[in-house]
């Protein structure tokens, strides 16, 4: 067994920056019809903001709880992780209630014979006895509400994995990769209601989370030489260009003929549910290029231009939930008032502004609580853990 790796003590602002940006992109993508979502990365490559969010969440979870586990032991760190799980569960159920409220309203007010079939999607409201229980069990998950349940499962599983990561990081990563491979081989996934399985298969997506944690606990240093090499950079760039070209043939099907048949047969379908290897590789390429050009000590990270994204990234649970809610709200406004292009742009900008303002408000609350009389000043570590993992 190798000695426990040193848990880094200073928070890497790049994590908050890119998680904040990922939260914005997730919000923009969640508004169903949104011209602004054309700027999001899913339109230009295989992976999307979800990969960034899960990876960074794994990274920060290891950063925060890893330190807690080395300092105060397995039980305390594990208990804190479970408290976090509970917070996320409550947040998810809260979002579900808002969702049901919107649906109930739409069902009562909307009528159009053209969409008689689509309106059947709202039939679950007729059986609240079944659907609400299934929602509490995380089996019934409405559209766009799949990320938090995934996060819950990943964190429940995290204490033992973190324990192992701190003792033998390579073994922990190997177990995670093995689980990913088994999920692909045997088709493991959790069941959904009314049928099918989870939209983000936790057995597959855990690899990205654990990989993030592994990077936080010394893996990134071990990869430093690889990441610094120009060969890696060029491979990553070549892969991104390749992915870009492929994705363009989805937007313009007439060009699909340029993709050779043997390649389409191997490549498709690119499976989001099970975190397709192509998606994972696309994320790695993006990350490699980002790490190459945006160094941890880059002074630009302290620039006020990045402050809004960093603020959002530092309160990711709250801002993520707010983003899901704002996407519902934006869709509601588009349906009830006007859904034109100008409105889409306005709602996108206003939504991001609300996310930033809320993040700033949460930071302010944290600050005044930290200064509060009776309690000792919170350490940087617990502040981060309370706010974010």
């Amino acid at each position: 067994m190798t000695p426990p790796p040193a848990v880094p003590t200073e928070r890497d602002l790049r994590l908050d920056l890119f998680r904040g940006i990922a939260l914005w992109l997730i919000f923009l993508d969640h508004i169903p019809t949104n011209i602004v979502s054309w700027i999001t990365i899913r339109n230009y490559g295989f992976s999307d903001a979800t990969e960034i969010f899960i990876f960074i969440s794994g990274y920060t979870a290891a950063f925060v709880y890893g330190k807690a586990m080395t300092d105060r032991g397995f039980a305390i760190a594990g208990a804190r992780i479970l408290r976090r799980v509970w917070q996320i569960y409550v947040a998810h159920i809260f979002l579900f209630v808002i969702y049901v409220a919107e649906i109930a309203y739409v069902t009562a007010t909307f009528e159009n014979p053209l969409f008689a079939e689509e309106m059947n999607a709202l039939d679950f409201l007729k059986q609240p006895d079944v659907t609400i229980i299934q929602a509490l069990l995380l089996k019934f998950k409405p559209a766009n509400m799949d990320v938090l349940p995934l996060y819950i499962v990943l964190l429940v599983w995290f204490p033992p994995i973190l324990w192992l990561l701190l003792r033998n990081a390579t073994l922990a990563l190997a177990i995670s990769a093995g689980l990913y491979a088994m999920a692909w081989e045997f088709g493991w996934n959790l069941p959904s209601y009314p049928s099918g399985h989870w939209w983000f298969n936790p057995f597959a997506w855990q690899l990205l989370f654990v990989f993030g944690a592994w990077c936080a606990l010394g893996g990134a240093d071990r990869l430093a030489n690889v990441l610094r090499s120009p060969v890696t950079l060029w491979i990553a760039i070549a892969y991104l260009v390749f992915a870009f070209g492929i994705v363009m043939t989805w937007h313009f099907p007439r060009w699909a003929f340029v993709v050779p048949r043997w390649l389409t047969e191997r490549m498709y379908p690119i499976d989001k549910v099970n975190l397709d290897v192509l998606r994972f590789a696309h994320f790695l390429a993006l990350a490699a290029i980002t790490v190459h050009f945006v160094r941890v000590d880059w002074p630009g990270l302290k620039s006020p231009w990045f402050k809004p994204a960093i603020l959002c990234g530092q309160h990711s649970l709250e801002i993520f939930c707010l983003g899901v809610f704002l996407a519902f709200a934006a869709h509601f406004v588009m349906v009830e008032i006007y859904g034109g292009l100008l409105m889409q742009v306005v709602l996108s900008v206003v939504g991001v502004a609300i996310m930033v303002a809320t993040a700033a408000l949460i930071s302010w609350y944290k600050k005044i609580e930290g200064r509060g009389g009776g309690r000792p000043k919170r350490s940087a570590e617990s502040d981060l853990a309370g706010g974010e993992a």
Binding site: N112, F115, G196, P253, A256
Partner: protein, 250 residues
């Protein structure tokens, strides 16, 4: 960077409206309608002057309510459009639409249907009910691939048709994953895909049809079905390479 985004946004915001002015009614830009996959069997039957039979297999979004619903729904509109544009071709369209069917259930019916009806072309509309049930993506995909294979083995061509663009229910019904799966099967099996979702979205975005409207009136529904029928006829004529046979009447 921000200026760049702003310019990009401005271009994207204005580009579609500039485009729409070139068309009236519910024209569909070629890139949304035409692909590389050919309807060879259909084309061969027409060349041999045989009558062609098109069978539409679908769910609730292939029918319209009311007494004249059958005549106004897109299968009948397709037949009318084909008769108008290909006066020398004997084309009939038969619709088998039943609500609440998954692709797997429909796939099982396709064999018997192919034997009974002996179609030249099957238009298979599916996906909405699967999205509602949350059927697994790979299960959905293999059901469609099986169905396509079944129909082709019986000597008919296939066009796949995906879900409607329904902006009101968009945040409640996640159809995009299913639409992607249909695109993949269509590409893999080299069958044309009628991308109803993208086409209806185009009509809505360019302002030719307001799909947000809440109304009991069937006039919008009729218009959409008529437009779908006409666009389908264009797709068939393109994919079966029948432009030479087109009559003067449009």
């Amino acid at each position: 960077m921000r200026t760049l985004f702003a310019i990009l946004l401005a271009v994207m915001a204005f580009a579609p409206s500039a485009f729409a002015q070139q068309h009236d009614g519910c024209a569909v830009p070629g890139y949304l309608l035409f692909g590389d996959s050919a309807l060879q069997r259909f084309s061969a039957a027409v060349q041999k002057k045989q009558p062609v039979k098109i069978v539409v297999v679908g769910t609730g979004s292939s029918v319209l309510p009311g007494q004249d619903g059958t005549n106004m729904a897109y299968p009948a509109r397709l037949e009318a459009a084909l008769k108008r544009r290909l006066p020398s071709v004997k084309a009939t369209v038969v619709a088998y639409a039943k609500p609440r069917q998954t692709a797997a259930e429909m796939s099982k019916r396709l064999e018997q249907l192919s034997l009974d009806e002996k179609p030249t072309l099957v238009i298979w509309q599916t996906g909405t009910f699967d999205a509602m049930r949350g059927v697994d993506g790979d299960e959905f995909r293999s059901s469609i691939a099986d169905g396509v294979e079944t129909v082709q083995a019986k000597g008919a061509d296939v066009i796949l048709m995906n879900m409607q663009y329904s902006p009101r229910t968009e945040s409640m019904l996640a159809v995009s994953g299913y639409a992607d799966n249909m695109r993949w099967v269509a590409r893999e099996r080299e069958v044309p895909l009628f991308d109803r979702q993208a086409i209806m979205r185009h009509w809505n975005d360019t302002g030719s049809i307001d799909l947000y409207a809440a109304t009991k009136d069937v006039s919008i529904a009729k218009r959409v079905h008529d437009c779908v029928g006409r666009a389908l006829a264009s797709l068939i004529i393109d994919a079966a390479n029948l432009e030479a046979l087109e009559g003067k009447a449009q």
